[in-house]
Amino acid sequence: MAFPLPQGITPSEIAFLSEMELVTVVPRQRLEILELLGVSPSGGSTELLQPPVRASVPLWLALLLKRQRRINIVPPFWLHPESLSFILQIETEHRDYSDAFSPPPRLPGQQSVGDRTASDKLKPRRTVDGQPYFPTPPFLPQNIALAPAEATGPGREAPSLPYHWLEVGSMLLEAASDDLVDPNQTRRLLKDLREVRTAKMRKGIDVLDTAAMAGGGVALTGVGAMEIGEMRGLVTGIVENLRYFSGFVLGKIGVSKEQARREQLAEEGNKDYDDTQDYGDSMEL
């Protein structure tokens, strides 16, 4: 067998991805610029580490240097206990988010809610092959620490959970708990957040049959990478089965959703609709 892993990246692969996130560090030792293959988004090389100037390095490098006590990690803004309790409050008490996840950090070019006037339209970068490219996590600076002025300034945004929150949070708690503000409190809050959000994810399963239909979909905006990783098998399995049953069992009794949708579309398109033919289609699914 060429490849033993199931379809869709597994939790350990997600952890591998999240190690590409940039974090802020305070070096204790000088380290020259190194040209690396997999360092983003800083132009393919590490920043010069010169104590006591803050620098951004990928998490895997930060963990490697931290283990050798060559740096200290500055925890990201969202990982402070106040930020986490603020997010937890939104997750549990805000009525707009009683069934949804708290809003994620905005992508570059994405307008905030209610701010339709902003004119900075999203301009994709071009890859070397000329394809449009929009950077996303783990290649956005969602886990770097804010400068002190930014953290207290009036214009700062409310804290939000980044895409790799669970992985980055746990890895920092494990490897750099002495650099965090209040590790015990942080650990508790992360655990609470995880429980609240897992419950929401389970609730979301009820509406999965929309994703089983052609052209349909279920929104999970704000979901974390690891949360997707845990649910992937369950979600795809449920949708598979819903599709199978709606085409097979329900197709015999009455009209399945998929079939009804197809009929509707076929009528819209003024197409002849052959019942038996479509039944044959559903059987193939």
Partner: protein, 267 residues
């Protein structure tokens, strides 16, 4: 169109050549995640992989040079050099892991749906027709289409496989067919020996299921899930609309073209 020309034009537009490494790395990572998540084989990003492989071999040379120089330095410098080497090597293994995992995933898909992809990449005229071969001599190998039989460059544009993958696939399927033939298919009546039989309206060629759902993030302002045209519906229709930054669960066939345009990302 010549790829080198495009590259030259782009290089002249974009002065930030130093960020190429970074962008290529991001692209590789995203492509790997996508390849791992969807059921069918994604188009082989040839130029990207060529650049990456070149960089990997350069990096290996650099590491070898540094290792060699570590023998003739003093102790103090040596500690620093060892640190650098371990960082460079970690970085190299991470990139190599991505490439290896990507290739193995593609091989797994190729061997799983080997007949489907062989038929896909072979020019249609070369498919042996059901009646042409003499019934008595039908061997399972004869039903394998040959992707290299025609030299028309058009077929390359449609092929999601790299040339090496195509070569592997053909060799793999030929071996498999001759094995089937000698172990059991040879004792079957000739008309049952085909590997691409579709008698009775059921094709025995397994194709990847494009109706599976995937997790996606919308990257453009708005992307609409499409319902592709099929037998029942002659034209394609549009379903749910996603907005920038949103994460959705939707059918792969409905967002495939948006993915090709770079407007959605697979998670």
């Amino acid at each position: 169109m010549d790829i080198d020309d495009i590259d030259d034009i782009l290089a002249s537009i974009d002065p930030e050549n130093s960020s190429d490494t970074e962008l290529d790395h991001q692209q590789l990572t995203r492509f790997w995640v996508a390849e791992r998540a969807v059921s069918d084989l994604l188009p082989w990003p040839g130029p990207l992989m060529d650049r990456l492989m070149e960089r990997v071999s350069k990096q290996i040379e650099l590491i070898e040079d540094l290792t060699a120089s570590s023998f003739d330095t003093s102790n103090n410098q040596n500690a620093m050099l060892n640190l650098k080497l371990s960082i460079l090597q970690t970085d190299l293994s991470r990139t190599q892991y991505l490439i290896r995992s990507l290739l193995r995933q593609r091989l797994a898909k190729l061997t799983r749906y080997s007949m489907h992809y062989l038929i896909l990449i072979s020019p249609p005229s070369q498919h042996p027709s059901q009646s042409s071969s003499s019934q008595q001599q039908t061997r399972p190998e004869d039903t394998i289409p040959d992707p290299f039989s025609s030299s028309s460059p058009e077929s390359d544009d449609f092929s999601p496989l790299s040339p090496k993958e195509a070569e592997f696939l053909h060799a793999h399927q030929t071996l498999l067919a001759s094995h089937y033939g000698s172990s059991f298919l040879g004792s079957f009546p000739p008309q049952l020996r085909r590997l691409d039989d579709n008698a009775g309206g059921t094709s025995m060629v397994q194709a990847p299921d494009s109706k599976q759902v995937v997790f996606i993030r919308c990257l453009a302002e708005e992307v609409t899930v499409v319902i592709p045209a099929d037998d029942a519906i002659g034209v394609e229709h549009y379903g749910t609309t996603m907005r920038i930054g949103e994460v959705w669960v939707a059918r792969w066939e409905g967002v495939k073209r948006a993915w090709e345009r770079g407007e959605v990302e697979i998670l």
